[in-house]
Symmetry: C2
């Protein structure tokens, strides 16, 4: 049955979507059966992975209208993955969920019908700690926390770990941090290395060894709806995400 | 009475906070009486502007507990501005506001007591289109939309303009776009110029002429709690934000 991993950080623009899409693609290329769930109304992960005009049903119908989950899955054989795409309708879900019974567990129930068909289910979240992200944290076995190598990205980490603790205590006792991944590392600046050192000294071996470099290839790939492995195979960024996926799969296998 | 301008974009990490803080500081240095309102639970604007340990009362108490607004203001003479600081408690407001009568107008009412004391009130928003951002859009005369020179930043613009139209129709008929500002422009990549061309061809003269370059100085300044004018006076980034503030003040003066 599938391991469910949520990629979370309420700080915006830290590389959540880029990391989910490329780790999903790397794991798929290694033969794992991977489902990417796009829980962000921006639907960046859906388009970056290559979903064109998702239509219905998608994550909104699955979460809010009890749509049959298998009907919400789009196959992307070119990227060796399946996707439950997002749509702008999801933006309304944050408010619509408030009065719903067991509102934090809608995703858990929806995914239970899919877990048997995949090895990995990877969830992309919006940059907030609202009910959509809480649903993703309640459904997850583990979280991966992308951290941009910038000062402002450090500021939110303690609030994030506090939220994880709240979810662990009230909704999902088994939730653990699989790892933190440092993104957009620019070796030419002192600041980037300072952030890396700070995060490693605080979170120690929980931080993945692989650091993702800043690379314009990663910001170009989404405009082609391709993972980095199709857009720039063999490049620095592709190698980094391959190494990260290996580390992540090893941690999954060992725990 | 103050002109209220909200800086908005639900895409994360596009430079909202960096732009609000530096435009506020530039306007303050030109003698305008400026109030920066931090409506993001991440409180990045508060710390980047130099607010240390904001304590209470702040924006949460002003919005949710009818605290006297003047009591929520922190003076930052070193940056020629005043700030209503954020706090993590604000994260709860998105959900707490849902059942509140006239929930979208809490900020309008709170700011009415402050408008007489300032020339400009600039509001920083979280990366979402939830009730906090809706409050900021309902209170504003104008919006400024920071757009990162990245492909993924283009994807959310139509959803943002649709939301502005909804707010205009239901909550704030006078709301207009003062301008879009292109941020983190890296002249070495083709992608950045493509994004600039695309945004200019779509929004035409609404886009500010000034483009903010990618500059490590801008990402270092927040760790010192300083605007770019104190951290790297006379540098490329300071000059860009000075030029942007001039353009913005001109548009405010002429409309
Ligand atoms: N390593 C990298 N090098 C260069 N650009 C990158 C890298 N990773 C991501 N980007 C670019 O930076 C921007 C932000 O990344 P991304 O959208 O993945 O972050 P996010 O955390 O998902 O954002 P949001 O908070 O809006 O969901 C995107 O334009 C993306 O293409
Ligand atoms: N022109 C620039 N050049 C280089 N770095 C920049 C620039 N503008 C902003 N940054 C850095 O990029 C990151 C994102 O910027 P910022 O936090 O201002 O964006 P935001 O839109 O407010 O993010 P959020 O969506 O999380 O509120 C920060 O670490 C900031 O220091
Ligand atoms: Mg994203
Ligand atoms: Mg911000």
């Amino acid at each position: 049955t599938a391991r469910i991993i949520t990629f979370v950080n309420q700080k915006g623009g830290v590389g959540k979507t880029t990391t989910v899409v490329n780790v999903a693609a790397a794991a798929g290329r290694r033969g794992r059966r991977v489902l990417l769930v796009d829980l962000d109304p921006q639907a960046n992960a859906s388009s970056a992975a290559g979903v064109v005009d998702a239509g219905e049903p998608g994550i909104y119908e699955m979460l809010m209208e009890d749509e049959e989950p298998t009907a919400c899955v789009v196959e992307l054989p070119a990227e060796s993955m399946s996707v439950v795409p997002s749509s702008p309708a999801l933006a309304g879900a944050e408010v619509e969920l408030v009065p719903v019974m067991a509102r934090e567990r809608r995703l858990v129930h929806a995914l239970s019908a899919l877990r048997g068909s995949y090895d990995l289910i990877l969830i992309d979240c919006p940059p907030s700690l609202g009910l959509l992200t809480i649903n993703a944290l309640t459904a997850a076995d583990n979280v991966v926390i992308p951290v941009q190598c910038e000062y402002m990205a450090l500021e939110g980490l303690s609030r994030l770990t506090e939220t994880l603790e709240l979810v662990r205590r009230n909704l999902n006792p088994g939730l653990t941090i699989l790892g933190l991944v440092l993104t957009m590392f620019d070796g030419r600046t002192r600041l980037a290395q300072q952030v890396v050192d700070e995060v490693r000294s605080h979170f120690k071996q929980v931080v993945f060894t692989t650091v993702i470099p800043r690379s314009v290839r990663l910001s170009e790939a989404p405009s082609h709806g391709q993972s980095i492995f199709r857009y720039d195979p063999g490049g620095r960024a592709a190698n980094a995400y391959e190494a990260l996926a290996d580390e992540l799969l090893e941690r999954v296998g060992n725990s």
